[in-house]
């Protein structure tokens, strides 16, 4: 009888693909899926394309319209994100009720984590700005202006989402001359968010640090905050769990004070007080007799041992 085996990939490539889809400890940059909703306006289409261009090596642009209302049912987007292996998505749509709609969302383990809906009020594309653009895949500087970013709960989430969307990947070193892109997010009091993208020009300042000048590069987007669906605290906590190897082990007994001085605490064994050398006094000195007695005492235990061994040996002999 043939044994029914567990289904395995038949080809080597299939095996590799399945292996690549397994979760890994340290993840690379998140991929973004840019897609269109049921209907899109010119505005939205250009906006999506520009966002795709900003994200480019880590993004995938889908050109067809998808009949998806994500706030009612998120599963089609989840499926698309699973298909393209992306954990971020930007969906644009246009309707009478919500004109020029942009939804930014994140996935955790192929299911929706959180999303926000933004209305696009005004837009100028990359092409509208004359001048040099940045090189592909540059890590941008992210600037958040306005007190609202730290005050409103929804904006806190949106900030996290924007950082997730644009920060690219964690790097150890960065080339100083390669810092040429800055994206600023300004949250105004009337629930508007202004996204500006600038090319950074480094000018001479007479000291080591250069003087920064900005030149608007596009895209230029003004958003209003619409609906949002935020992750539950539990899920977010679960999603933000850090791998053990990235956690820094706590250094014991070492601390730094306010002035930056390093303090260490060391443990020394108990001191033997009996053998401590104290002040020498004539009165406490041993007399010649005492010394002799001590010498004798030192010798005695040895003689006692020899005495004790002898009878045992004789006993043994007797037994034999």
């Amino acid at each position: 009888m043939a044994i029914q085996r567990v289904v395995k990939p038949t080809t080597r490539k299939g095996k590799r693909v399945l292996e690549a889809r397994q979760p890994i400890t340290i993840e690379g940059p998140k991929q973004t899926l840019v897609l269109h909703g049921r209907k899109t306006s010119d505005f939205i289409r250009l906006g999506l394309k520009d966002l795709y261009r900003l994200k480019k090596p880590d993004a995938k642009l889908l050109s067809r319209n998808n009949d998806i209302t994500i706030f009612e049912n998120a599963s089609p987007v989840e499926e698309l994100c699973r298909k393209y292996e992306t954990s971020l998505f930007i969906m644009g749509s246009h309707s009478k009720k919500r004109p020029n709609n942009l939804i930014i969302g994140r996935m955790y383990n192929y299911s929706l984590l959180d999303m926000v809906e933004l209305g696009l009020d005004s837009f100028q594309s990359l092409a509208d700005f004359v001048g040099p653009k940045i090189t592909l895949g540059t890590k941008p500087c992210l600037i958040f202006n306005g007190p609202a970013w730290d005050q409103m709960d929804e904006l806190k989430h949106l900030k996290s989402m924007f950082v997730d969307l644009f920060h690219r990947e964690n790097v150890e070193n960065i080339r100083l001359q390669g810092l040429e892109h800055a994206i600023s997010f300004t949250a105004t009091a009337d629930n508007k968010i202004l996204l500006r993208s600038y090319k950074v020009l480094l000018k001479k300042s007479g000291c080591k640090t250069p003087r920064v000048e900005l030149e608007e590069m596009g895209p230029h987007l003004d958003f209003t905050f619409r609906r949002s669906k935020l992750a539950s605290e539990d899920l977010m906590k679960q999603a933000c769990r850090k791998p053990k190897i990235l956690k820094v082990a706590k250094r014991k007994n070492v601390s730094r004070d306010g002035l930056g001085t390093l303090h260490g605490r060391i443990h020394v064994g108990k001191q033997n007080i009996t053998s401590l050398q104290t002040r020498k006094m004539k009165g406490l000195k041993k007399t010649a007799e005492e010394k002799r007695a001590e010498k004798k005492q030192r010798k005695r235990p040895l003689t006692a041992e020899t005495n004790s061994t002898k009878p045992v040996a004789s006993k043994k002999r007797k037994v034999e």
Binding site: I3, V6, P23, I24, T25, E27, S87, R106, M107, Y108, N109, K139, C141, L142, I143, F144, N145, G146, P147, W149, D150, S160, V163, D164, H167, N170, V171, E172, N173, I174, R175, L176, Q177, G178, L179, A182, S184, T186, T188, A189, L194, R196, Y198, V200, K203, K204, S205, G206, K208, T209, R211, V212, E213, L214, E216, A231, Q238, A239, C240, R241
Partner: protein
């Protein structure tokens, strides 16, 4: 004099143009690992309303300048004729896209090997065969061919039946080995996924463990009319563990599966309805019989005698026989142990 003043003014203007200092009421929050700066100073609303783009540009420039001042303060290094700054690790917590990978549970062999300190040794891909006088692979392509060449004749062991087909024996042995490996693999998978596998039904003595065999023995012993009460035991024989619920003579009732809430409700409702409706259940046969008895039909002696016989109750109804309660086996023992505790 005028030229001198204008010179000073020019110089100071140039300095402000080229300066890298920016004044802020509140300091910015930086996360240099992600090249992130957050400015929580309140915005100048009049300027924002008047000229939004210029104001945001000016504001962003100041903040980028502040961020760059911080970055340029970081330790630098020279890599291929360019200066790189060493970024600290980022503190901004972002969600992962997939959960952390779980470590694979060890197989039974791996567990054993770990406990005993057995290390995997790499086997060579090809082995020299003295009989064939050539290198043969230890597995895979051309291995079966080599085996066939090698085993063109097989020795019949002195202990075995001379008429036994040694080739067939070898073939079945190999097949059984493969099956055993597969079973063990599946068992490891079940163990890893914490799936309960049936404890019985495996009667191959070569494949089953001592534990499984003991379970089988214990259960089969109960398959007599007296539920194994009079079966003999070997001295010092242990019973299979965790079988109390499964045994037919056990006093511990096995838990029935969870009843769905709908079913439970339906059952309860039926009971309640029958009580509430208040209509007594009419046993027609009984009623007719009673009617016949009391309505002067007593002339017919035969019938009454028959009825009386029928209505007579069995003698021993009050004391119900129950094997489980009277059985001197586990039930009582268990009670005793409870008392002791």
């Amino acid at each position: 004099m005028n030229a001198y003043i204008s010179n000073i003014v020019d110089k100071s203007l140039r300095e402000t143009e080229n300066s890298i200092t920016v004044n802020k009421h509140l300091q910015l929050e930086y996360d240099l690992g992600t090249l992130l700066a957050t400015d929580i100073n309140s915005l100048d609303l009049t300027r924002l309303r008047k000229d939004k783009n210029d104001y945001t540009k000016q504001l962003s420039r100041d903040n980028v300048q502040l961020l760059f001042n911080e970055i340029w303060r970081l330790p630098t290094d020279r890599v291929e004729e360019s200066i790189v700054a060493k970024l600290p690790s980022s503190n901004f917590v972002l969600p992962r896209s997939r959960p952390l990978p779980k470590s694979k549970p060890l197989t039974k062999w791996e567990q054993f090997a770990k406990a005993k300190g057995i290390k995997k040794t790499k086997k060579t891909k090809q082995n020299w065969d003295d009989q064939l006088n050539k290198w043969i692979p230890s597995y895979g392509y051309k291995r079966a061919q080599a085996d066939k060449e090698k085993d063109w004749v097989l020795e019949v062991p002195a202990t075995s039946d001379p008429m036994e087909d040694q080739f067939l024996k070898k073939k079945t042995g190999k097949r059984e080995n493969v099956a055993k490996n597969e079973l063990q693999r599946l068992r490891n998978i079940a163990k890893a996924k914490k799936i309960k596998i049936p404890r019985l039904g495996l009667t191959n003595s070569e494949l089953s463990s001592a534990k499984e065999l003991q379970t089988a023995v214990t259960l089969t012993r109960s398959a007599t009319a007296s539920l194994g009460k009079f079966q003999n035991k070997l001295p010092k024989e242990k019973e299979g563990r965790g079988l109390r619920r499964l045994m037919p003579n056990s006093s511990v009732k096995s838990k029935s599966g969870a009843v769905s809430t709908w079913d439970e409700k339906q059952n309860n409702m039926n009971i309640v309805n029958s009580v509430i409706s208040g209509r007594p259940k009419l046993n027609v046969e009984k009623a007719v019989g009673r009617h016949l008895k009391y309505s002067g039909n007593s002339d017919d002696k035969e019938e009454t005698s028959k009825k009386s016989q029928r209505s007579r109750k069995p003698i021993n109804t009050k004391r119900k026989r129950s094997l489980q309660k009277n059985a001197p086996g586990k039930g009582k023992k268990k009670k005793e142990t409870h008392k002791r505790r």
